[in-house]
Amino acid sequence: MSKSERPNQLFRNLNAKVASIPMILTALVVFVGGTAWTVLYSFTNSKLLPRLNFVGIDQYYRLWATPRWLVSIENLLIYGVISLVFSLVVGFILAALLDQKIRFEDTFRTIFLYPFALSFIVTGLVWQWLLNPDFGIQRVVRDLGWTSFSFDPLYNSSIVIYGISIAALWQGTGLIMCLMLAGLRGIDEDIWKAARVDGIPMWKTYLFIVIPMMRPVFITTLVIIAAGIVKVYDLVVAQTSGGPGIASEVPAKYVYDYMFFAQNLGQGFAASTMMLLSVVIVIVPWAYLEFGGKKRG
C-alpha cells in the first residue's frame, strides 16, 4: 500500500527539470536578481558607480518631473502601436504571399529579411538621407516637377516618431515574416482543403482559421515585437539622436543616456524600474492566463 503514494514530486520529470536548470538559474539569478539589484539601486543617488546611499524616491520624483521622460513615454506609446500593428499586418501579409507556392521564394524572403542583418548604425544614416528634405526622396520628387511635395518626417517634430517607424518597419518586418512563415508551414493541408470546400474565401480562411491556429506563433511574435519596442534605442540614435530637440526621445534612450552619458546610475535605474514595472503590470497577468493554468497553450 505504501507504494501507492504519489512519488516525491521532485523526481517526477526529473530530466525536464535538469534540462531546465539553465533557464531556472537565468530566471532567478540574472533576471530576478538583476532586477532586484536595479530596483534597490534606483533608491540611491549612485552616480558613476553603484553605491548604497539611499535617497528615497528622489530619483522617481525627478524622473516624473522631467519633460524629456514624459515625451519619451508618449513617443513609446505611439511608436509601439504603430510598429505593433504594422509589423504584424505587413509581416503576416508578406508571409501569406510567400506561402502561395511562388517562384523565387528564397529570393523574396532574403530581400525582405536582409535589413535585419545590417547594423542600424549605418542603415539609420541611410534612412536619414532618404528622408532628408534637401537631398532625399522629397528632393527627387520635387525635381520631377511636383514642387509642393513635402516629405520630411525626420525633421518635423510633430511627426518624427512616425518617420522613425518607417525605418523600423523596414528593418523588423522581415523577421516577423519569417516567424509567420514558419507558423504557416506547420498547418495541416487538410485544413486548407476543408476551407476550400466550405467555400471560405482565401482571406477569410487566413483571418478566421489560420490566424487563430497560429495563435502561439502570434504570441511569440507579439512578445518579440513588444520587447523590441520597449528596448528601442539604436533606431532613434542612428536616425535622429532623439531630435529634433527631444521630439523623438524614447525611454530606453533616457535610461542609457542617464546611466552612461550623465553618469547618474540612480536616475537610469529609476527610469528602467518604471519601464519594467509597466511591463510587469501588463505581462504578468496576461502571461499567467496564457501560459499558466491550462494544460497546453
Binding site: 487538410d190 482543403k193 466550405d198
Partner: protein
C-alpha cells in the same frame, strides 16, 4: 454495367491522376445520376479518397474532365462546384468550437442567423452532439470528432455530398442510427451522394449503386444486389461479403449441362446462368459460393447439389457461427445459427444451389 445516364449529376471522364511517378487513378469513368447514392468500395490505398478529392477539386488532375450538373467543372474552384465533403482525417478547425465549426461555412455564405441556428440544431440532433457544441475539437473523442465532421457537411445545402468514410470511428449502434439518418436525409434532400466506406453493410444498405475499385480502376459499378450476387470478377467477388466467398479451384467441363469438377466433386451447372455463350467452353476455372448460401443438415437435402463432409473448425461470431469444412480438398466455410452445436470432426451434410454460385475463368478471373 447500366446504360449511360442521360443527364448525370456527376460525370467523370477519362480521369487520370499521378503523384509524381505514382499513378493513382487511370482513365477512370464514372457517371452518377441526379439524386443517386453511389458508394465507393475498394481496398485500402486503391484511390478512393483521391477520387473524392479530384471531384471536389482539391487535387489537380492529370487528365480528363469532371462535370457536375452538366457543367464542366474541371477547372473550377471547389467552392463553385456545389459540393460538401467529409474528410477522412476530419480536418476540423481546431480553434473553433464545434458550433463554430458547423456554422462557419454558412456564415461566410451569408445564410441568415436563425436559419443557421436551425440547421445546426438539426445536425446536432441527428448526430447527437448537442452537449458538445461549445467544446473545441481537442476535447473530443475520435468518434465525436467524426460526427462533427459529418455535421459540417450536413449543414451545407449543396447538390453533391462527398463522404470519405464518415462512420469508421463510430460504434455499431451509432453507426446504424446514422446510416438510417443519412439514408433519410438522402431521400429528403434528393441530392447526389458519393460515399466511401469500408463497411459492407453500409455499402449494401445505402447505395443505389456500388463502385468497386482496385488500383485506381473501377472494376464494377452496379446495384448492390447485382454486385453481391453477380460479381464481374473474382476480385469483386472476394472483396464483398463477410465472411468471404469460398473459392474452389477446378475445371469447367463442357456439356449439357456443363459440369464443374474438382478433386472428387462434380457440380452440375444446369441452373447456373452463364454470361454469354463463350463461357461454356471447357477450361480451368474457379467456383465461388458464399458461406450463407451453403445449407446444412436437413436443409441441405433439399438443395440441387449436396455433399458429405466433416467439421474442421467452429468459429462462433455472436449471432451466428462460422463452420469450416472441406469440399474437393479445398477449404470451405459456411454459416449456421449460433445455437447449432457442432464439434470439430462431426460428420455433416452440406448442399447448395449452383444458381447462386459464381464461376470465374481461372486465367482472366472474370465471370463466366
Amino acid at each position: 454495367m447500366a446504360a449511360a445516364i442521360a443527364s448525370p449529376s456527376v460525370s467523370i471522364q477519362d480521369l487520370s491522376l499521378n503523384f509524381g511517378a505514382v499513378s493513382v487513378l487511370q482513365t477512370l469513368n464514372l457517371d452518377v445520376a441526379e439524386g443517386e447514392f453511389v458508394v465507393l468500395l475498394g481496398p485500402s490505398g486503391c484511390g478512393k479518397s483521391t477520387l473524392l478529392n479530384c471531384i471536389a477539386g482539391l487535387l489537380d488532375i492529370s487528365e480528363g474532365r469532371i462535370f457536375i450538373k452538366g457543367k464542366n467543372v474541371t477547372w473550377e474552384e471547389p467552392k463553385d462546384r456545389g459540393i460538401g465533403m467529409v474528410f477522412q482525417s476530419y480536418a476540423l478547425y481546431p480553434q473553433m468550437t464545434v458550433e463554430k465549426n458547423l456554422s462557419f461555412g454558412l456564415r461566410v455564405a451569408g445564410v441568415p442567423k436563425d436559419e443557421i441556428a436551425k440547421r445546426i440544431a438539426r445536425a446536432a440532433e441527428i448526430l447527437q452532439i448537442g452537449p458538445l457544441l461549445q467544446r473545441k475539437p481537442s476535447a473530443l473523442s475520435g468518434g465525436q470528432r467524426q460526427r462533427v465532421a459529418i455535421g459540417r457537411a450536413l449543414v451545407r445545402d449543396v447538390d453533391v455530398f462527398l463522404f470519405d468514410e464518415p462512420l469508421s470511428n463510430l460504434d455499431a449502434k451509432l453507426r446504424s442510427e446514422l446510416r438510417v439518418e443519412i439514408k433519410l436525409l438522402h431521400r429528403k434532400l434528393e441530392n447526389t451522394m458519393i460515399y466511401v466506406t469500408h463497411d459492407q453493410i453500409e455499402a449494401m444498405t445505402l447505395a443505389d449503386r456500388i463502385a468497386v475499385m482496385r488500383g485506381g480502376v473501377i472494376q464494377q459499378l452496379d446495384a448492390p444486389q447485382t454486385i453481391y450476387n453477380r460479381p464481374v470478377n473474382r476480385f469483386v467477388a472476394g472483396f464483398l461479403g463477410s465472411p468471404a466467398m469460398n473459392f474452389i479451384k477446378g475445371q469447367l467441363e463442357a456439356g449439357d449441362p456443363p459440369v464443374f469438377k474438382a478433386d472428387g466433386v462434380s457440380v452440375p451447372l444446369g441452373r447456373y446462368q452463364f454470361d454469354g455463350e463463350g463461357g461454356r467452353a471447357a477450361k480451368p476455372c474457379v467456383f465461388g459460393i458464399r458461406p450463407e448460401h451453403i445449407a446444412f443438415g436437413e436443409a441441405a437435402k433439399a438443395m440441387p447439389f449436396t455433399a458429405e463432409s466433416t467439421v474442421e473448425i467452429v468459429d462462433p461470431m455472436g449471432s451466428d457461427t462460422l463452420v469450416w469444412t472441406k469440399l474437393g480438398g479445398q477449404i470451405l466455410s459456411f454459416r449456421v445459427e449460433a445455437d447449432k452445436t457442432l464439434r470439430n470432426g462431426d460428420a455433416i451434410r452440406i448442399g447448395f444451389d449452383p444458381a447462386r454460385a459464381s464461376l470465374f475463368d481461372a486465367e482472366t478471373d472474370s465471370r463466366l
